[in-house]
């Protein structure tokens, strides 16, 4: 008797749990936990709730996403992937190849993503022919930031070629100012390196060397010149740069200790947070040379079971690319919207410059993925290049040796 009741109850429970549709649900794994970033995620969370969804937040901080990736691996291995995960660049396709991503083409086509996203950025959101990720923002990496007062005092204009930069830096050095604020961490070395590759080699060379990994480009004379310039830049950095965090380097520019910093536009957030005005206290310009290196944050959608989760996924994807979220989020984060049709009235002049050059370089074919920030290459290859760049920058290795080592490291990384 007892047993029958139990069976009946559990059957009812099973039935009701599969029948009940609780509305859209999403569990979101991300590592935006610091001030401005956390605020930006809260915007998305709010919009999701306003549309009737239930958001389960899964923030995993630490190690620039390493900790989150470890958590993700464990979740996927146990067959219980989160709905959406903050992922970017070729890592999206790498996860797709593991067979765990969902197809969100229906949303993408209904919302007309192909028309509002620049083609090369849209490419990152596609796995083979289907849409599998939603872009959040576009960070530009090839920025050079300067202290306006220091430049004015020393009668220097924003450099437009690397030779001009070197001349300006020598002048600043003579005047007792640190020309280049830099933090000696591998990814920062790599950030400077890729802007030099773009500046000295041009967009085509950048594409061949750091996207296609063409051995001829990697061992070319241009690459030797790039390493020569890196050695020159090493001379413009203060001796105490090892291990310094990027925001401390930004602070050096802010308080006039140093003149320039080469860093993506998250540095702008630091300037703004300190109450500085672009164009007045600090200057922004693209690093010498043509082109635009982008670092696009995005959410990859993982295959999940259940109607409510799938509905949540669709809703999330729609909201992420929606104009209102793109605007509010990027105002908080310092980047620019990934979609090109968002009104930029409330954005500052650096963002305007960024948006203008994104459109023009997209048309000119020089809108390129940043290798230093995991947009151009898979982890093993970009890591191999970074090893060589940072080894060269932090030693007295000759440029010819570095070029040889670069080609070997890339060949050894497959």
């Amino acid at each position: 008797m007892k047993r029958t009741i139990l069976a009946a109850v559990s059957t009812a429970a099973l039935l009701s749990s599969s029948a009940a549709y609780a509305g859209p649900e999403a569990e979101v794994l991300h590592w935006w936990t610091s001030g401005g970033e956390a605020k930006s995620v809260a915007v998305l969370q709010q919009e999701f709730a306003d549309n009737g969804g239930t958001w389960t937040d899964m923030p995993v901080a630490g190690g620039g996403g390493d900790a989150a990736m470890t958590a993700l691996r464990a979740r996927v291995l146990s067959g219980n992937a989160p709905t959406a995960v903050q992922l970017k660049g070729p890592a999206i396709q790498e996860w797709y190849e593991e067979g765990v991503l969902a197809d969100i083409s229906a949303v993408a086509e209904a919302e007309g993503w192909a028309d509002v996203l620049p083609a090369s950025i849209a490419g990152h959101m596609k796995c083979e022919d289907i849409w599998c990720a939603a872009p959040v923002n576009v960070h530009r990496v090839d920025w050079i930031w300067a202290n306006a007062q220091v430049l004015a005092d020393n009668d220097i204009d924003m450099p437009t070629t690397w030779d001009e930069f070197n001349a300006a830096a020598q002048k600043l050095q003579a005047a007792g100012v640190i020309p280049l604020a830099h933090g000696g961490q591998a990814w920062q070395d790599a950030t400077v390196f890729e802007t030099v590759v773009l500046g000295l080699g041009g967009p085509d060379f950048y594409q061949q060397a750091l996207v296609d990994l063409d051995p001829a480009a990697l061992t070319s004379d241009t690459m030797v010149q790039v390493f020569d310039q890196m050695r020159t830049l090493r001379g413009f950095v203060d001796p105490n740069f090892s291990g310094r965090d990027w925001n401390l380097a930004t602070a050096m520019v802010m308080n006039g200790e140093a003149a320039f910093q080469i860093m993506g536009d998250w540095a702008k957030g630091e300037f703004l947070a300190a109450g500085k005005t672009p164009g007045q206290d600090f200057l922004c310009a693209s690093t010498p040379g043509d082109g635009f290196l982008y670092n696009v944050d995005s959410f990859a959608m993982f295959a999940v079971d259940g109607d409510d989760k799938q509905a949540g996924q669709q809703l999330l994807a729609k909201l992420i690319v929606g104009p209102s979220f793109q605007k509010v989020f990027n105002l908080n984060k310092g980047s620019i919207p990934a979609r090109v049709d968002v009104a930029l009235d409330e954005f500052d002049q650096c963002a305007h410059l960024s948006a203008k050059e994104m459109t023009s370089s997209s048309e000119g074919g020089s809108l390129l993925p940043s290798y230093a920030h995991g947009m151009a290459l898979r982890g093993a290859q970009s890591g191999a290049i970074t090893d060589v760049v940072t080894a060269h920058f932090n030693s007295d290795m000759s440029s010819a040796d570095a070029v040889q080592m670069l080609a070997d490291a890339v060949a050894n990384s497959y």
């Binding site: 790498e94 093993a380 932090n394 050894n412």
Partner: protein
Amino acid sequence: MPEWLEKQLPKLVLAPSFIAVLVFVYGFIAWTGWVSLTRSRLMPRYEIEGLVQYSKLFASPRWDTAMNNLVVFGLLFIIIAMVLGLLLAILLDQQIRTEGAIRTIYLYPMALSMIVTGTAWKWILNPGLGLEATVRGWGFEDFTFDWLVNPDMAIYTVVIAIIWQSSGFVMALFLAGLRSVDGEIIKAAQVDGIPTWRIYSAIVIPSMAPIFLSAFIVLAHLAIKSFDLVIALTGGGPGYATDLPATYMYAMAFSRGDLGQAAASAMVMMMVVFAVVVPYLYSELRAKND
């Protein structure tokens, strides 16, 4: 029945931990060995591809640096920590009044986590903030101590920090060893008028051979698995100048999504540990059988 139970009880009691060790130690070693033979990237894959990960590993200049650093770091650390620890122990063994207090002070760094040690020494050794800046502030303008930011010398700063951390522990080990030497022999030697240094070098230290071996094993495995200290002190930098095998493995597994490469480096690390531990176990077991 009780008799049967009595006979089987030890086996039954040991079985869970035996199974746990079998699965979680040896099982996972075998799993890592398997993965190291595949081309696993983000997620483990199980198609065996041969020794490709090992040939990549040995062709990698960064791995070379890591292994060289391990040798330099390991040897210097073990030798200096043992010499310093022994010296401190002998000095403390002279029946001084405040021994308890001094012993606690020397042992205290061991109570800190490596992360704290690393961070503190990072600030002390930072040329712009720490020792160099302070001495320059005293008026010695030419004083330079920039090992932390000098790629050729940075590994020695890791040695300094770990010796500071663990030589007190080695001292405690040796002190216990010194105390275990039979007092009668020492007294007899003193009666015979043998000088103190001779007593130590000819009687006390030779009779402490097992302690030396234990200290060596403890320090050697500390050296091989060193990770947190390097991460906190130098972050593996400048460049990758202070990488150790453990940080290499971490970078491959968790930052680069290259599990196969990480597994291969883990296997090589394990072989290094075996090379140190197996002779020790062998000599221990032989001693017991004698």
